[in-house]
Every structure is written in structure tokens, then in C-alpha cells.
């Protein structure tokens, strides 16, 4: 058994420490939850409140009664899912290609892709916007989804992950005269679930909370993503006048991602003792 898991006193102490840290870590978020149930007017004068009344469901009701909110939720979900799927597919394929295959120009291409890691989003932001405007892709799902597919981080992650998979597995498969692609799909890919889950969560989260790009590419209210759409419903000084509403919006927008994480996180930790590799 993994010596790191031996349940000694040190282990117990560590867990207690972590629990305390976790409580402190959660503190601000529990506060957000509490504030989301308070009326805006009350929060104009006081924000250092937690569990005491008054309470109200008005903030959440206001969100649910905004006619476009479910459309925005749908937009965000579609865009994030498509972008995540796209990134996983492209990155896995490319990662395998770079990690395990030889072809002329591989080193050069890899360097070119790694170069992209250093390119800040701001270098390409405006020209990308011009490009998408020229192609008439503003206010379309393609406009929202496509740019995220070009990020090289996924390729880097998958390349590293695939490199660490022992080569004997592939050899065994190839011995059975399996094609490269089959080997990849049936042998290698299933082994990379933790990396897929990680990259999936990363990408989904990044897409869900993306700030500037959705703002400029989706300017029609029916194309807003959830975070942008909710933000547009706030008044000018919402940080002062509409605090409860802001908090409720944040909880509402954060819930889907949290649920996604909880759903996928079981793939993150395969059984430590034994299975998988």
C-alpha cells in the first residue's frame, strides 16, 4: 500500500489542519450565499452580516423571471460543451501525434505550437475580432466557440501525459497488427482519463467565465452567455445598490460548473492502489 497513505498521527494532524484551512477557504463563498438571500436595500447600508435575518428569495426570483436567463444558460452550456469537446478531440489527437509518432517536421511543428503558449490573448484579440467580423461570424455560436480551440495548452498537457505512458502498451497493441489510430483510440485514450477530465474542467471553466471575448463577439442580447447576460441586467451601481442580486447571479452562474466538476472529479482520482497505471 502507498506509504503516503499510512494512517499515522501525522496523517490525522494533516487532515485536521486541512479541514480548518478548507473552512477558512470556504468562508467567503458561504458569505456570498448568505448575502444572496438578503434584500438589496438592506445591503446598501450593511454588508458585514451573515446568518441573521432579513431573508428574501427575491433576488433569485428576479433572475428566474428575467425572460432570457434560460436562453443565456443554454448559450453558455452549448458554447462551453462544444468548445470543451473540440479542445479534447484536437488536443488528444495532436498530443498523441507529438508524443508518440514520428513524421517529418515533427520537432519544428511542436516548437511552433509551444510558441503559442507564450502568446497572450491580447496579442490576437482585436485582429481576431476583425477576422470574425469579416467572416460575418459575430453573434454566432461559431464565433463564440472557435477561438478557444486554438489554445496550445491542451496539446502541451496531453503531450506530456502521453509521453509518460509506458511504450510497451503500444507495442503490445501493434503486435496484434492494430493500426496507429486504433491503438490510439482503444488503448491509449482510455488510459488518459484523468488528463481528459482535467483538461475538460479547465476548458469548460475558462469558457464559462470568459470575460472579454464573448463581450465583443456576442453583442445581441439573445446571444449573450450567462455571465455576460446576467451582468447586463445590473444597474450602474450594482455593487452598492444591487448587491444581493449580484450575489444571487453569481451563485446561479456558478452552480452548473460546480456540478460539472463534481460529476467529473471521480475520473480525477482513480483508485490509488492498483488499477489504471
Amino acid at each position: 500500500m502507498n506509504p503516503l497513505l499510512r494512517r499515522g498521527w501525522f496523517d490525522k494532524l494533516l487532515m485536521v489542519g486541512l479541514c480548518l484551512l478548507a473552512l477558512a477557504w470556504m468562508g467567503p463563498l458561504l458569505w456570498v450565499l448568505a448575502l444572496s438571500f438578503k434584500p438589496n436595500e438592506f445591503l446598501l447600508t450593511r454588508t458585514d452580516v451573515f446568518l441573521a435575518p432579513p431573508y428574501t428569495l427575491a433576488n433569485y426570483l428576479d433572475i428566474l423571471q428575467t425572460s432570457s436567463v434560460f436562453r443565456w444558460l443554454g448559450n453558455s452550456a452549448l458554447v462551453a460543451l462544444m468548445q470543451t469537446a473540440g479542445v479534447l478531440v484536437l488536443s488528444s489527437l495532436a498530443g498523441y501525434g507529438f508524443a508518440r509518432c514520428e513524421f517529418p517536421g515533427r520537432k519544428f511543428l511542436f516548437a511552433v505550437v509551444m510558441f503559442g503558449l507564450a502568446v497572450p490573448a491580447q496579442s490576437t484579440f482585436i485582429p481576431l475580432h476583425h477576422l470574425f467580423s469579416d467572416w460575418n461570424l459575430q453573434n454566432t455560436f461559431a464565433g463564440l466557440i472557435l477561438p478557444g480551440l486554438a489554445a496550445p495548452f491542451g496539446v502541451y498537457l496531453m503531450t506530456q501525459y502521453f509521453k509518460a505512458i509506458p511504450i510497451d502498451l503500444e507495442e503490445a497493441a501493434m503486435l496484434d497488427n492494430a493500426s496507429r489510430l486504433k491503438t490510439f483510440l482503444l488503448v491509449i485514450l482510455p488510459l488518459s482519463l484523468p488528463a481528459q477530465a482535467t483538461l475538460g474542467i479547465f476548458t469548460f471553466l475558462g469558457c464559462w467565465n470568459d470575460y472579454l471575448w464573448p463581450l465583443v463577439i456576442a453583442t445581441k442580447p439573445e446571444m449573450y452567455t450567462l455571465t455576460r447576460g446576467l451582468a447586463s441586467t445590473q444597474t450602474n451601481f450594482a455593487q452598492s445598490e444591487g448587491l444581493g442580486f449580484l450575489m444571487a447571479q453569481a451563485v446561479f452562474a456558478g452552480m452548473p460548473v460546480l456540478m460539472l466538476y463534481l460529476f467529473f472529479q471521480k475520473h480525477l482520482i482513480t483508485a490509488v492502489a492498483g488499477t489504471g497505471r
Binding site: 506509504p3 467567503p28 507564450a118 472557435l146 484523468p194 463534481l262
Partner: protein, 295 residues
């Protein structure tokens, strides 16, 4: 029998694996980048979209711009403060929480939780918490009998404060990177170590950490890349102040492009950021390549 050579035979068809990505990458990253570099050599008005050639003038101006110089310094300080914390803390958390069972699950979710929220909420919550006198932090300090320190308006502490808030916010992501890497360490190695009655410490330092070296570099790299581009949380919490001690490069770029409408100048600044990041990324990758050769 397929030899090892056969497995590694170079075949152009193999390039098909990477082509889909490379095509998207070239079209949606390299091409706009090239255009952006071109814009950096012009004086380009954002609103009316017209421009004229100025050559390297924008870059000359940037070098003379003391605000920009300070801004570069701020960004580097931010990266230098936050990256080590990210790497160490997420590694510790991943190691400690890499366990089956409910407790591990709950704790992992707790540390990940903050990252699902958008930056606007995070900054809002912390601004409220850091409010002078009435904020929760201030009240806590008063309750403990400590003097109140105005963190967000202090020339020396503002950047550190935002860095810590950033760590609090997105520690979950590098943590899951380490967790997924830990899954790859074959369990037989651990079993062998257990048979030898190896101590926890030796297991950690001789087995686990070396296996994680590649991931440590990856996490350091990704965090460095992300923090070099830090922007919304700083703008929303301190707006670059006080006294320009927190303004990051990306905020500078944003202000030049969208508020002063000087797209060319902003583009030039973003190329400078690119150059800085390229140095950082290359350094990291070079370090990693070295280690691979040694093995």
C-alpha cells in the same frame, strides 16, 4: 515482430494526428498574431479603424513611457510572488488530498469551489471583506487587537493582496493538474517501497516528487503564463493603483486600446508582453528538456 524502430518509423501519415489542431491554430492564433504585429507598426485608431505607418515608433515610445516600465515591473513582481505559491500550495494540497474516500472528496471540492465563480464576484466579495472598518477582515483584526492595515490602498501591500486573492480563487486548477499526474505513478513502485519499509519522507522525496517533475514544470509554466496575463482582478480591486503599483501590462494594453483608442500602441505593448512571456516559457521548457536528456 515489430521492432522499436518500426514503432518509431517516421511516416508522413502520422502527421494527420496533429493536422486538425495545427490548422485551427494557424488560422486562429498565428494569423491574427501576425496581423497584430503589423498593427503594432502603425498608428491605428480603434474607433474609425484607419491607420498609418509609424514603423518602430510605438516601441520607442514604450521604452520612454515610465508608466509602461512600471507596469512591466508590476507584472513581473506579480508573477514572481504568485507562481511559487501556486506551485507549492497546489502540490501540497494534491499530495495530501490524493486519497480515496469521502473526506478527500469533500476537501478537494472545497478548494476547487472558488474557481467556478467569475472574477467579478470574487473581487466584489474581497472588496467587501477588505472594506476599512466595516469589512470582515478589519473586524477580525480589531477583534484580535491588531491594528488595521488598509491593504488595497497601500503602495507596498496592494499587489501582494491581489496575488493572495488570486491564489485563493484559482488554486483548484493546478491542484487537479497535480492530482491527475499523481494517478500516473504506477502503484508497484509504492508497493516495492512499502515492502522495503521505506519511510514516508523517503517515499515522497525519492519516488513521488521525481515522478512529478514534469508536472511541476507544467504547472509552473501554466501559472506563469496565466499570471503574466493577469488583468480583471487587479482592475476591479485596485484599478491599477495606488500610485500605479498594481497595474499589469494587460490593463495597460486595454486602456490604450479601448480608452485612448490607440490600437497601434496597444498592439506594440502586447508584443512586448509576448516577448517577455516567450523568454519565460523558453527558459522553463529548456530546463525541462535538460532533465529529459539526463535521464
Amino acid at each position: 515482430m515489430i521492432s522499436r524502430v518500426g514503432l518509431r518509423a517516421s511516416r508522413p501519415a502520422h502527421a494527420l494526428f496533429v493536422m486538425p489542431f495545427v490548422a485551427v491554430y494557424a488560422l486562429l492564433l498565428l494569423w491574427p498574431l501576425a496581423k497584430g504585429m503589423l498593427i503594432g507598426l502603425h498608428d491605428h485608431d480603434l474607433l474609425s479603424n484607419d491607420s498609418f505607418w509609424v514603423g518602430l515608433d510605438n516601441y520607442r515610445q514604450l521604452l520612454d513611457d515610465e508608466v509602461f516600465m512600471q507596469v512591466v515591473g508590476n507584472t513581473m513582481r506579480f508573477v514572481a510572488i504568485s507562481t511559487p505559491i501556486f506551485v507549492l500550495l497546489s502540490l501540497v494540497l494534491a499530495l495530501a488530498l490524493n486519497r480515496p474516500g469521502k473526506l478527500g472528496l469533500v476537501l478537494r471540492a472545497t478548494f476547487f469551489c472558488a474557481s467556478v465563480f467569475s472574477v467579478t464576484l470574487i473581487t466584489l466579495v474581497w472588496k467587501l471583506a477588505l472594506m476599512p472598518e466595516r469589512g470582515l477582515i478589519a473586524q477580525l483584526l480589531t477583534a484580535l487587537g491588531l491594528p488595521e492595515v488598509p491593504l488595497l490602498t497601500s503602495d507596498s501591500l496592494a499587489l501582494l493582496t491581489v496575488a493572495l486573492v488570486t491564489v485563493w480563487w484559482i488554486i483548484g486548477l493546478p491542484m487537479i493538474l497535480f492530482l491527475s499526474a499523481l494517478q500516473q505513478i504506477p502503484s508497484d513502485i509504492y508497493e516495492a517501497a512499502a515492502l522495503d519499509n521505506t519511510s514516508r519522507w523517503r517515499t515522497l522525496t525519492r519516488i513521488t516528487l521525481p515522478s512529478l517533475k514534469r508536472t511541476i514544470v507544467l504547472v509552473a509554466l501554466i501559472e506563469m503564463i496565466r499570471q503574466f496575463q493577469v488583468f480583471p482582478q487587479i482592475m476591479l480591486m485596485t484599478n491599477g493603483g495606488p500610485n500605479n503599483t498594481t497595474r499589469p501590462i494587460v490593463q495597460f494594453i486595454y486602456e490604450q486600446a479601448f480608452m485612448q483608442l490607440s490600437l497601434g500602441y496597444a498592439a506594440a505593448a502586447s508584443q512586448v508582453l509576448l516577448a517577455i512571456m516567450l523568454i519565460g516559457v523558453s527558459a522553463q521548457l529548456w530546463l525541462e528538456r535538460d532533465r529529459q536528456v539526463a535521464r
